[in-house]
């Protein structure tokens, strides 16, 4: 298909994914965005959420943060906190929810962090349903 573009997902430990895809949904910093081929060059941050890669098969990843670059039909996702959704067990998610709740309770949290944490909480509880 001519509508495909290259996707690469890299974490500091390893390269998670390298394949062609036709559409990707990203939890970008200022809202979700879908990237199709021939998107204009783009650099953005990620907030906690789920990356959906649709190609031959659909894959989902959970991220907490990361950087995305798109240029010349090459999409690169860099994230140190990325995990395949299949590898996340319910217990693990509950644990993460607890941790985030505790972090949210902390005093003198700046708005940006508060926003990120509460978003992470929403997202995690969304998965766990």
């Amino acid at each position: 298909m001519s509508e495909d573009f290259n996707v690469e997902i890299v974490s500091p430990e390893k390269s998670l994914l390298k394949e062609k895809s036709n559409s990707i949904i990203l939890p970008a910093y200022e809202g979700e965005m879908t990237i199709l081929s021939n998107h204009i060059p783009l650099i953005t941050f990620l907030k906690p959420g789920i990356i959906k890669v649709s190609g031959n098969s659909e894959k989902k990843y959970f991220v907490e943060d990361g950087t995305v670059e798109f240029s010349n039909n090459n999409l690169t996702i860099l994230s140190s906190t990325i995990v395949d959704l299949k590898d996340l067990s319910k217990n693990k998610i509950s644990e993460m929810i607890e941790n985030t709740k505790n972090q949210l309770k902390e005093e003198n949290l700046d708005d940006k962090k508060r926003y990120i944490f509460s978003h992470k909480l929403d997202c995690l509880s969304g998965i766990n349903q």
């Binding site: 060059p41 650099i43 950087t67 690169t76």
Partner: protein, 291 residues
């Protein structure tokens, strides 16, 4: 001529040394595989990160207001060198090679009468640099009690460097580490991390203007310190793979040398034993003959 007893003792001692070097080689080989895998898997991340930064720096059209971490302070007066070495010895020329490379750079900096500041990571590098460059060392970091280095540790150093930079302590930052090529070869490398922008002679024909979300400045502010930590983490990974590889080759050589030595000593031992027997026989025979 050493006595038979001395020879026997020497053979025994060389043999036990050989056992140690052999064990060290095996341990290094096992660790190497893991470290190598990590180093190789970690490469794309840091390379991509660097690429994004380079692309970003191309897109900046107002260098005056760009973050200092990217374009530098505009001065070139003092240099910060981060020398990354191992915490343990017995790994061939591993530490010496990094230090040699670093020293070359130091001398160049000092010759141009610029200020030099050194941060050592790992104790072995510190030991070698202490004597000649002791007064330039501003910080010593080691992870001797840590088994495995994580991204957090790299971040620690990265933040330290960024803090120093914000305090205007230096204009340029270079890190030194060994790049792992294969088990036999490790290449000592120097990499400039601040300013992140590299002087590219190539023509930038493709004028890619990026869309940024959030704003360009915000992205850069967050990405640049991260990039430093990433580059340092890469240094860690490359270094640990190189260290194990280097140790493995060194210990392999040591084991082989010990084997050669044992062979030589055994021949010596057998010869002198034979000589002693022959001497005794001659004495007996000549004694019997004189009767």
């Amino acid at each position: 001529m050493p006595s038979l007893d001395d020879l026997r003792k020497r053979i025994a001692s060389v043999k036990s040394t050989q056992k140690i070097t052999k064990a060290m080689k095996m341990v290094a080989a096992a660790k190497l595989r893991k470290a190598q895998e990590m180093a190789e898997k970690g490469r794309p991340y840091s390379d991509k990160m660097n690429l994004i930064i380079q692309n970003l720096s191309k897109a900046i059209n107002d260098p005056m207001n760009a973050p200092k971490l990217l374009v530098g302070t505009g001065q070139d007066k003092s240099h910060l060198c981060v020398v990354m070495t191992a915490d343990r010895g017995l790994c061939g020329g591993f530490n010496t090679n990094i230090v040699k490379q670093a020293k070359k750079y130091f001398n160049k900096v000092l010759k141009d009468s610029k200020k030099l500041k050194i941060i050592t990571v790992g104790t072995k590098g510190l030991d070698q640099l202490k004597r000649d460059y002791g007064k330039y060392i501003i910080k010593k970091i080691n992870f001797k009690d840590k088994k495995k280095l994580t991204f957090k540790d790299a971040e620690l150093i990265g933040n330290e460097i960024v803090k120093l930079f914000k305090d205007n302590e230096f204009d340029k930052c270079v890190i030194f580490f060994n790049k792992f090529k294969n088990v036999m070869t490790q290449i000592p490398q120097s990499q400039q991390v601040i300013p992140a922008k590299q002087e590219n002679k190539e023509k930038e024909d493709e004028n890619s203007s990026y869309e940024f979300e959030p704003e360009e400045d915000e992205i850069l502010e967050d990405l640049l310190p991260k990039n430093i930590s990433t580059q340092i983490y890469k240094g860690f990974l490359e270094n640990s793979a190189s260290e194990q590889g280097s140790r493995m080759t060194a210990m392999d050589n040591a084991t082989r040398n010990a084997g050669d030595l044992v062979d030589k000593l055994t021949i010596n031992y057998n010869r002198s034993r034979q000589a002693a027997i022959t001497k005794e026989l001659i004495e007996i025979i000549s004694g019997a003959e004189s009767l």
